[in-house]
Amino acid sequence: MIWRALLGRFSISVVTLFVVSVLIFIGTNLLPGDVAQILLGQMATPDSLAALQAKLGMDQPGYVRYFMWLRDVATGDLGFSKAGLGAGNATPIVQIIEPRIYNTLQLTSMVAVVAIPVALFLGLLAAMHPGTRLDRTITFSTLNLISVPDFLVATFLVLVFAVYLGWLPSIAYLRGDETGWGLIRALTMPTLTLMIIVSAQIIRMTRATVLNVMSSPYVEMAILKGVPRRRIILRHALLNAIGPIVNVIALNLAWLVGGVVIVEQIFAYPGLAKLMIDAVLVRDLPLVQACAMIFCASYVVLIFVADMASILSNPRLRHPK
């Protein structure tokens, strides 16, 4: 039975990914805005325009181009960046993207490793003492943190740590040969910013989840029969909250996708999101397409993991209606 539920969820993810790819393709290909025209400029002759359009496969109907593109993506060929294509020295997108993916993964995994334990601890702390001053402080400050723009957190941190204290560099540009201390110094500010943004969410959701479990009948039963509070939380509530909490973590890692766009831009961090913004600014659509696909795919995968966690932890969800 459980396999059927998992398989069902998996097929939903695949369908979603397919729909997402269609949406991205429509967004970058079928809408007005002739790339060949942009590349060659206003002075282009009709002949050279038609030649470049044929070279880019733009004379084919939309659905044919979609499947050609999908086949290429599936075989790992992301096409060529439009930059320099007119001049004849196009760079394969895979080559551009590869180091950037590595950099972004480096940043996000560092955030995940540091932020998740801290956030879980604070969320549990707030849930264990609901209504106290500690709980109110945590709830109020996280509410404020999730309602301010990401770049406010970043600017504020730069002002404190880079301008007034002068401890850390205000940008996180990587040359590629940093090791140890230098790398940590460069990564600290973006990591800290992302950490603050992500943990505010995790703290709030962890607190709500544990409080939800705490109000369930079996916890009430445990209280009535005189089980010590510590034991109730660690043995009864926490074990039942693990599934929802893993769900929370996966969802928040997916939200990192949005946060990383802002943070990489502020700190000039050479990651995938910065690459994508730059590509949007020069309207390098194949590159935008490739980056958007990677981001959306990782998002869908993380959401899938989140659902998986709740299905595995809650037997009632194993039988989809």
Partner: protein, 321 residues
């Protein structure tokens, strides 16, 4: 009053069934009141801001304004000036008055976000309620499309793309203009409004009073306007506040990336971006617009939090997920 009188009074036995439910009164706590005050302040600024601004949003300040009496400097810098009596909140990177730009930008930022949120609500609530009541496209008695199924699938796909990615792809394809920004944001956020309106509507649709109305022979339109809408209005109104915050953050983030509102119009998000280099000189120019956004979003969130705490916290739960 004697026993006979009591039993003879026919209206007596209906005393416990009032003909209309008592009006729910919401008493805001101090945090909610502060929120309302800040919100009212910004609402007034939106209306009268440009007329009370000391300078125009695109006006470069005269160098003569900054000449310190008794000094030889005839041509002082006008950019990144600290707050003074001439420029109450300092000047920006091009020597424009920050306060005036904040006052003008309030209309742009809040106006665009508000219209986009309303658009999202018009689309989301209409389709959500239509899906909840089980509307079907029929042709000669056969159901061609069940609206609920069709919309829910499309909605799942839309929700599984991070909103910033969708925004980036669309702006890459179409460029950035204010109408496009509003429509784009409206559609992106209509997806989550749809989900909430649909689930709220479904809750009401299975209730006894809708059942009673149906048995009475009321039509679909009557049920929607008299039974469903009044019952979902309050939760939706609270959700509107929260959605408004996210739209403000989304539009500011796009502007911050240089892809939202284009210069020379002032907008809080782009004001942060263009003045970011001033951060290393300790200029307040990038901080003031971020704080403006923060006060607005935090105040709305405080009101929403306060109201949802009074309506039993059911809303709070829905909102964090």
């Amino acid at each position: 009053m004697s026993e006979t009188q009591k039993s003879m009074n026919p209206s007596r036995q209906f005393d416990e069934l009032p003909d209309a439910p008592p009006k729910r009164k919401i008493r805001l706590s101090w945090s909610g009141k502060i929120g309302i005050a800040v919100l009212v302040f910004w609402a007034i600024i939106v209306v009268i801001g440009p007329s009370i601004a000391p300078y125009h949003e695109a006006e470069f300040l005269e160098e003569s304004l900054f000449i310190v009496p008794g000094s030889d400097e005839k041509y002082p810098d006008t950019d990144f000036q600290p707050p003074s009596r001439i420029v109450l909140l300092g000047s920006d990177y091009m020597g424009r008055d920050t306060l005036s730009r904040i006052l003008f930008g309030a209309r742009t930022t809040i106006g665009i976000s508000f219209i986009a949120t309303i658009l999202a609500y018009l689309i989301g609530v209409t389709l959500g309620i239509a899906a909840a009541v089980g509307y079907r496209f029929q042709y000669r008695g056969f159901t061609i499309i069940e609206l609920d199924t069709a919309l829910s699938r499309l909605n799942d796909a839309l929700l599984s793309i991070p909103s910033i990615m969708l925004g980036l792809v669309m702006i890459a394809a179409l460029g950035s203009t204010i109408p496009l920004l509003i429509v784009l944001t409206g559609i992106i956020y209509a997806a989550s409004v749809f989900r909430i309106a649909r689930s709220l509507g479904q809750e009401v649709m299975v209730s006894d009073f809708v059942e009673a109305a149906r048995v009475r022979g009321e039509g679909l339109w009557w049920i929607i306007t008299r039974e469903i809408l009044p019952n979902v209005a309050m939760p939706l109104a609270t959700d509107f506040g929260l959605r408004f915050v996210w739209v403000i953050l989304f539009i500011s983030a796009l502007s911050f990336l240089g892809l939202g509102v284009q210069p020379p119009m002032s907008d809080w998000g782009s004001m942060v971006k263009e003045n970011l280099p001033g951060l290393i000189y300790g200029s307040v120019a990038p901080l003031v617009p971020s704080l403006a956004i923060a006060t607005l979003t935090i105040s709305v969130n405080m009101i929403v939090d306060d109201i949802s705490a009074q309506t039993g916290g059911k809303l709070a739960k829905r909102m964090i997920s």
